[in-house]
């Protein structure tokens, strides 16, 4: 049963229609009025301050980006688990509070470790 979600899906379809119409509009304009524009290779060069960009290669990758993504997963999952507890906290009372503190404390140890190891530093 979709219930309220059906309304939301309808809205998403409307959103897609708006974005799609903008894209389609510009293509229609191009098809109608840009037929006789010159299609040269220079026009399609990627930006490189007028210098030839050369062969494209991703090159080096700072390990910090990988670490950030990794830590993001960890904290994102933590937060997703915190939300249902937060909703129930009033009902759960002191018991729920103790649970929450233990949960956060264990992760706080991990956070301190990550900090001390210097994984949060950017160079």
């Amino acid at each position: 049963m979709l219930g309220d979600w059906a309304s939301y899906l309808i809205y998403v379809v409307v959103a897609a229609a708006i974005a799609g119409s903008l894209l389609a509009g510009s293509f229609t304009w191009s098809a109608l009025f840009h037929k006789d524009l010159r299609q040269g290779r220079q026009k399609r060069r990627v930006f490189e301050s007028g210098v030839s960009p050369g062969e494209f290669s991703p090159g080096n990758f700072s390990i910090n980006y990988f670490l950030t993504a990794m830590l993001f997963i960890v904290f994102d999952i933590e937060i997703v688990f915190l939300y249902p507890i937060a909703v129930n906290l009033k009902m759960l009372g002191a018991f729920g509070f103790a649970e929450l503190v233990v949960f956060v404390a264990i992760l706080a140890v991990g956070y301190v470790y990550v900090w001390r190891k210097g994984a949060l530093e950017w160079h």
Partner: protein, 328 residues
């Protein structure tokens, strides 16, 4: 479904149109205000007070040629701005503009929101995080060094602040005991949450500025370093769609701030929708003011602020709120 299918379609079209219209108006107001902050007039040629400027901009963007850069992945290159914009508009969909309204002269009642779900707040975060892929795909598909670097930076920035952002609102959830926007807004009848949740609000606000890529956190567009970031290779309508997605995200985050911390659509005399737009406008004014005032931060400073300041402060706020909610 709160209203019938037909009514929901009408409501969706109206909400999306209001959003796009509000976006167009705010781009003009932003340029005017920035002009005033810099002691100049800003756009004032097209129509009275330059009011037609957004329409002129749209017309100009529409006329631009479609150039796909050499070596780009054509389909993904074109899909990226579409994804970014669909996600941006969709994320706004659950924002409430009031509870129930009666159409004057009849006894018809309609709900002033598209849908009320038990996880609304998480949906905004989820759809917002899907929007990140627009930037990532755009950066990758352009086959340009600057676009790739810019995309990488954007994602690193967005995910870092997503953590602080989602942690900061947990205090509000604890006080309202719900993730539904309607319940959260109604729970603030007596006291707006920004007073008890001032710490959470400050973290939320800084994170929201960074999440919407606004100055002083617009590192993805640091022209001296990565040219224009992930949309370096985009022009015309496709660039405009990226820019629109970014601005609509700022609107959504402002609306989120209004609902979570400033009582949502409630207010005296004026009807709910007007109050919502006023509160969103107030948030956006502060964002523009900040843009005109503060210089851009450095990337390592940005990451340090997100992980070493906002994250611990948000966690502290979470524990304090939990203690107050349980023992207070």
């Amino acid at each position: 479904m709160v209203d019938g299918v037909i009514l929901t379609i009408v409501k969706s079209v109206i909400l999306a149109s209001v959003l796009m219209g509000f976006f167009a108006l705010m781009t003009l107001i932003e340029r005017k205000l920035i002009g005033r902050f810099q002691a100049r007039y800003g756009p004032n040629r097209v129509g009275p007070y330059g009011l037609m400027q957004p329409i002129a901009d749209l017309g100009k963007m529409l006329q631009k040629e479609n150039v796909v850069p050499e070596g780009a992945h054509r389909k993904l290159y074109l899909a990226a701005p579409f994804i970014a914009m669909v996600c941006a508009i969709s994320a706004f969909g659950l924002i409430p503009f009031g509870n129930v309204a009666t159409i004057p002269g009849t006894d018809w009642t309609i709900h002033l929101y598209i849908a009320n779900t038990s996880v609304s707040l998480l949906v905004v975060a989820a759809i917002g995080s899907l929007g990140f892929y627009g930037l990532m795909i755009g950066g990758w598909a352009s086959s340009s060094k600057y676009a790739l670097l810019g995309g990488m930076r954007s994602i690193a920035q967005l995910i870092s602040y997503e953590v602080a952002f989602t942690l900061a609102v947990i205090g509000v959830i604890m006080q309202a005991s719900s993730l539904s926007f309607i319940t959260i807004a109604n729970a603030q009848d007596h006291l707006w949450y920004f007073i008890p949740q001032i710490l959470g609000f400050l973290v939320f606000f800084v994170a929201a500025v960074a999440e919407s890529n606004r100055p002083p956190f617009d590192l993805t567009e640091a022209d001296g370093e990565v040219v224009a970031g992930y949309h370096t290779e985009y022009g015309g309508m496709r660039y405009a769609m990226f820019a629109a997605a970014e601005f609509i995200n700022a609107i959504t985050l402002s609306a989120l701030g209004a609902v979570l911390f400033f009582g949502g659509p409630s207010g005296p005399i004026l009807p709910g929708p007007i109050w919502m737009l006023l509160k969103i406008g107030g948030f956006l004014f502060v964002l523009i003011w900040i843009r005109a005032t503060l210089p851009r931060v450095r990337f390592d400073q940005l990451m340090k602020l997100g992980w070493k300041v906002l994250l611990p402060v948000a966690t502290l706020n979470l524990l304090l709120t939990a203690a107050v909610v349980v023992y207070g």
